[in-house]
């Protein structure tokens, strides 16, 4: 018998490589940089005549979406297909969960179909983590967004967007604006920016849309756009998530737009070459003016393109880490 090691982080294998991708919390800077570098290489693949590489040929990627999504689902599908994997997408609202099957049973059935990777989106925070820990630990589990908790691939595609347009993070001021309270994107972005060395991370929001304990992310909090946007290099707008609000948080959308909407006028407070980002879907006239969303500083559609490359990187790295772990386990078994 070999002694049991201290528990290692769930997302990493014994060699410190990614095997699940659940959250950016606790991942070292080197690993985030490796994801960005790998994604850069996949971006080049997307520009070729044949936009496909054989890396995951013969592997099966299962997208299990318990919550609606257009961009995340389709870009995960495209990413898996461009890696030559077989892909199935399950929109669970239209499948057997509505016949009473539990999450556990749905996933065990998919595992029995020899799936290698699950991409999971769920309305409950911690769903992907639960699956990686208790349901299918030997499959690569990728979090495609869980409740208010994390959306790590969105976080990394935002980082790739910033790095490709600004060259790095060391001298940047980045403002995240709007509904921070309900936003898993905001959480993932704050964590990633911090880890990658961004010195000035600002959140701008009405007090009712800020989570308790926001300071623990090492950000400065503003409740006024004029002060918060002053001389920033990047503005990340968030969607107002009305479907998650139980009322009473906002007087009205009009009021929100008047105070926190990103208009051409307000954008002038930021640096002249400031980037405008948004994870989508955008609500024109609710958090962002059309002229800004479609304007020369907007990189909103670039984010979508980069999202495919980031998802290709994460899928292949997690598969690679799971393979390595399987080999390590085998070797350990043989030597016993």
């Amino acid at each position: 018998m070999t002694p049991i090691d201290a528990p290692r982080p769930l997302q990493l294998n014994d060699q410190g490589q990614l095997r699940h991708f659940l959250t950016l919390d606790g991942l070292p800077r080197e690993l985030l940089t490796e994801i960005l570098d790998t994604a850069d290489s996949f971006l080049e693949v997307g520009a070729r005549a044949v936009k496909k590489v054989p890396l995951l040929r013969g592997k099966t990627v299962c997208n299990v979406f318990f919550e609606n999504s257009t961009r995340t689902r389709t870009t995960f599908e495209l990413a898996a297909q461009r890696l030559s994997a077989d892909v199935i997408t399950l929109n669970v609202s239209t499948s057997s969960t509505s016949k009473g099957e539990s999450l556990f049973d749905t996933l065990r059935n998919l595992e029995a179909m020899a799936a290698d990777i699950f991409v999971v989106r769920h309305a409950d925070s911690g769903a992907a983590h639960f699956i990686a820990e208790h349901v299918c630990p030997n499959l690569a589990i990728i979090n495609g967004g869980d409740g208010r908790h994390a959306h790590p691939t969105q976080g990394m595609l935002d980082m790739l967007t910033i790095r490709r347009h600004k060259g790095g993070f060391e001298h940047l001021s980045v403002a995240i604006v709007g509904d921070i309270l309900h936003s898993r994107v905001a959480r993932s972005n704050m964590l990633a920016l911090k880890t990658l060395g961004c010195p000035d991370i600002r959140v701008i929001a009405p007090k009712t849309l800020l989570p308790v304990g926001i300071e623990q992310y090492g950000v400065s909090v503003y409740s006024d756009m004029a002060a918060g946007l002053k001389d920033v290099d990047v503005v990340i707008m968030l969607r107002l998530q009305r479907e998650r609000m139980s009322g009473g948080l906002l007087p009205s959308e009009g009021e929100f737009y008047r105070l926190f909407g990103l208009t051409e006028q307000r954008l002038k407070l930021a640096k002249p070459d400031a980037l405008v980002m948004h994870p989508g879907p955008i609500n024109r006239g609710v958090e962002i003016e059309s002229a800004v969303a479609d304007g020369p500083q907007s990189v909103i559609l670039n984010q979508v393109t980069y999202g495919i490359a980031v998802r290709m990187a994460v899928l292949s790295m997690a598969m690679s880490g799971q393979n390595a772990q399987r080999q390590l386990n085998q070797e350990a078994e043989e030597s016993n």
Binding site: Q17, E34, D37, T38, D40, S41, F42, L43, E44, V45, R48, A49, V50, K52, V53, P54, L55, S316, M317, S320, G321, N323, A324, Q327
Partner: protein, 168 residues
């Protein structure tokens, strides 16, 4: 064993390549080096030829056949081909030909850019250890190593070869 010096191999490789291309009446080939050693050899070869042609760079990490065993190369970088592949005569350059698997991966990748008219393979060393029916058209030197030996190329300037022995 004494390893040859790359600087001495390059002039005769250049001459052999010119002969090979002339025989096939190829006048303007496109040069492509395989990252990392192949790129160094390609740069040195173009310099020896006095040819200012742009060099394409291929990173075959996404095309390797050992992904399941070895995983993704952590330092993968984008391939950069500053020209069309479709219908072109290509000269593919690598440092050391061993199993032939890197070349297979490189050919697979090249065909995803387009359908070349031809591919000529140039290698600095052939280690006589091929596992696939892949053979260089131009080679600097051929040698056979013991099972626990490998050759490592350092560069880009100067290019040097070093014999490494792995303890088993």
């Amino acid at each position: 064993m004494n390893l040859p010096s790359p600087a001495e191999l390059l002039p005769q490789m250049a001459a052999a390549l010119i002969r090979h291309l002339n025989q096939r009446q190829i006048s303007e080939p496109r040069f492509i080096g395989i990252r990392t050693g192949g790129v160094w050899v390609a740069q040195a070869l173009l310099e020896t030829l006095g040819n200012p042609a742009p060099l394409g760079i291929l990173d075959v990490s996404f095309y390797r056949d050992d992904f399941t065993q070895k995983g993704l190369h952590p330092q993968v970088q984008p391939s950069e081909l500053p020209f069309e592949v479709e219908g072109q005569h290509l000269v593919l350059i690598d440092d050391v030909l061993m199993s032939g698997r890197t070349i297979r991966a490189a050919l697979n990748e090249l065909f995803d850019y387009g359908r070349p008219a031809s591919v000529t393979l140039v290698c600095l060393l052939d280690l006589n250890a091929r596992e696939l029916p892949i053979s260089p058209d131009v080679v600097g030197a051929t040698l056979s190593l013991a099972a626990d030996q490998r050759v490592k190329l350092s560069g880009p300037t100067p290019l040097t070869l070093e014999l490494q022995t792995f303890a088993n």
